[in-house]
Amino acid sequence: MREVVVLGVGLHPFGRFPDKPKQALAREAIWTALDDAGLEFKDVECLWLGCVLNPTFTAWNLLREVGQTGIPILNVECACASSSSAFREAYWAIANGLYDVCAAVGVEKMQRGMIEIEDPNTYVGAMGINIMPGLYAMKARKHMEQFGSTPEQFAQVSVKSHRLATLNPNAQYRKECSLEEVLNSRMIADPLTLLQCSPSSDGASAVVLCAKEKAARFTGLAISVAGWACGTPRFLGTEGDDLSDEMVIRLSQQAYERAGIGPADVDVLQLHDAFTPGEVCVVEALGFCPEGEGGRFVWEGQTDLGGRIPTNTDVGLLSRGHPMGATGLAQIIEIVTQLRGRAGARQVPDAKVGMCHNVGIGGCNIHILKR
């Protein structure tokens, strides 16, 4: 397998853009990524596009905006892990020698409030079973019962995110909030309050990947894809849900092995913090702290700038917002930005190795990138 690099990255800010259709968001993201790479769209040989809601025709509509060059395209849907799945498809195609230059794009337009509108004529819909933060809320409850973590420790994830937002012009919500404000915001599902839930959002993200051996002719500052892993939760009864620790442990071990590193070598991390328990639990499963100590780890600031493993330095889903199809690549983009040394006020000094964890209903993708 050939070595693959990220050559260009581009983000359309996350927020509300009622007048912009998906292809308008997506084309800005990919043009930014192409400019960053020193390429034109005509150089892209294959394109994957992550989008969850109404994805039909989205990749094609984008082509009709940026260049109808006859290349193969594909809409990729893996719920909140859609665009990291688009990334891994592009990575596999180049690594296996099929193409030299590929693009992965993510885009989403969402309405406010709860994502799912269930069918009232089903058991699940009529009984209100699928509360959006339900799985995360249950995970937090169990973590507190089993390991003694506290609601304050979960809430601290949101405090950190909102503070880091003041350092990032791309964050949707850029106002600090105190621990009290987070804990006293409206309770959605015990123990998760409104400020511990990521806001829905519009947005787009794009990455241009290239075979390393071909990258020197282009101007983009290349960052290598060093490791990867993907999969779904194994059957474990109700614990085999999309937040399964078993899955994250298994996949992270595969990714570390492929990259030839361990957790101690990672300088900067992006993990899926759709809700605050994501950060507390995933830092354990990725091996950054022992099982059960995620709450204390966060509370002590170990996932903040200056801590052991700065996490979601661009603020993550909680303050960036979570346009489902665009989140996976937004994570990759922040890691690439950090490894390139271009993260400004939120730069992790001398970051050489970064890791991305992106999960949705339907899978988890882990990527390791290296300067």
Partner: protein
């Protein structure tokens, strides 16, 4: 007019999940699947075993008793739902090993705890356009079985 034309019926919210007793000495049942190869049980019914992938599976009635494995308390009602907030939603491990998600009723949300013994109970949630009672199920706390009882 024949009585059957105007008699009120009980209809399930969704077919194929549970049975409604047709006589007073019958119990409601949960409809599930058992894998003949590895023995794992599932709710709702499945065409294959999710654990070992065998297609040698059989329809079974599941235990209607179990314990709360995990839960949360929803503070906002969902648009499609008839259940008013706050309510507890639990992941329940039935006595025969199947897992099921259900709303908990019959106690304050503050009383719900992991390990709490619970049992299935039918509940009327609304009426349909024909005036039939639409039936769903919840789980309610029960005393733990006595040893030797």
């Amino acid at each position: 007019m024949p009585e059957s034309a105007t008699a009120k019926r009980q209809v399930p919210i969704e077919p194929g999940l549970f049975t409604i007793p047709s006589s007073p000495d019958e119990q409601p049942g949960l409809l599930g699947t058992r894998c003949r190869r590895c023995g794992q049980r599932f709710f709702p019914r499945k065409g294959a075993c999710l654990r070992c992938t065998s297609r040698d599976v059989e329809d079974v009635t599941l235990s209607t008793r179990g314990t709360v494995a995990n839960f949360t308390v929803a503070r906002m009602a969902l648009p499609a739902s008839v259940i008013k907030a706050p309510y507890a939603v639990a992941q329940i491990r039935l006595l025969d090993g199947a897992d099921i998600q259900a709303v908990l009723a019959g106690c304050e949300v503050t009383e719900v705890h992991a390990g709490m013994p619970v049992a299935m109970a039918l509940v009327k949630i609304k009426e349909d356009e024909a005036g039939n009672d639409v039936i769903s199920f919840q789980f309610r706390p029960v005393p733990a079985p006595e040893i030797g009882g």
